[in-house]
Symmetry: C2
Subunit: 206 residues, 2 copies
């Protein structure tokens, strides 16, 4: 009886290292693989060896957990982006390059969240969307402004349509979350360098 008791305590102590974070991390894995609606709360707690009571102790609803995932992802992304943008040792070209490298380089640790972000956003409640969408838009507008500034400075061609170019660049990077696998045949640097080269110099021969 005492033996069982100690074993139980040990299990509890291990799990006590931020149970909420463990639930979030595991949910990210499951949501990415199976989808938000296709993953039940039962699936989540079963895979962690806990019960639904635990889940609802930390989250008020399934949708709130999804909001948590969305908010952490986009907040972190915008922060990383603005760190790059505010470093005025770099010109616009270099900033753009750094952003692309940052996005591709982060696939390893942010890729699952990113896929969830774009695929499952529609499951957020309107009041939560109101917090997320401005951040998503800010990320895009920051790139747009970078393009415009680059045009002004003569770093980029002056006939460019900045909003379209921004969305084109976002397409290149965001789509990589769909196919890039860390540890595969191509390295993140290799991919990023090629993308930056294509965006800046194009693929047409001289």
């Amino acid at each position: 009886m005492l033996l069982w008791y100690n074993a139980f305590r040990k299990q509890k102590d291990c799990g006590a290292v931020r149970v909420k974070e463990k639930i979030t991390e595991q949910s990210i894995r499951l949501f990415e693989k199976k989808g938000f609606s296709e993953t039940s709360i039962q699936d989540i707690v079963d895979s962690l060896g806990v019960t639904k009571g635990t889940f609802y102790y930390y989250f008020s609803s399934k949708e709130e957990l999804l909001m948590d995932i969305h908010y952490k992802y986009i907040k972190n992304l915008v922060e990383n982006q603005e760190k790059i943008l505010h470093n005025d040792k770099n010109n616009c070209k270099a900033k753009l390059s750094e952003i692309v490298h940052m996005l591709i380089g982060n696939i390893d640790i942010q890729g699952q969240s990113a896929k969830i972000f774009f695929r499952e956003m529609k499951n957020l409640k309107p009041e939560h969307l109101e917090k997320i969408i401005p951040l998503r838009d800010q990320f895009r507008i920051n790139i747009e402004e970078l393009i415009k500034k680059g045009i002004e400075k003569g770093e980029f061609k002056n006939h460019l349509n900045a909003p379209i170019i921004a969305l084109g660049i976002l397409g290149v990077t965001n789509w990589s979350y769909q196919w890039f696998k860390t540890g595969g045949s191509m390295s993140a640097k290799e991919v990023s360098d090629m993308f930056v080269d294509m965006i800046l110099n194009g693929i047409a021969g001289h």
Copy 2:
């Protein structure tokens, strides 16, 4: 009584213009807006004024309907692509340009299916995925080969990594399905031209 009878027949006749297609079209609309798992068969039939019996008369399962949508989309896309590739009046640059224009131009009628294709593919059964994935891969490989041929012919730079460039181009075009709205402030031609210009010539100033 006779009046009601005729009205009823008329209604049936109108609906008889391919009920199966009406179900498919409506499902595409609902799946795109709410998601596959989030849309119940009840939702679909209610919005059409029929019952679940009708649905299961035309489809053996919900997943089969999803397979139908996937197959029609990717089959049509590969066909359109290969029509362009087999027209040997165009060089590689022109072919690439035509493919980009085709993809963006088709958003109007194929956009919803495209979003479903990439977002809901995970809900297909393994045996159905076996039919879809090769077609999806073929589309990508066709672009890859076009790049390689363009390099050989000196139309494209020879240091390019064709697989990465192909995925970059696919990113630009596929991502447009997420944001481009027909009838918005930018026309499909405007966007396509800008994308082709970026891909071929880059954005960096000379």
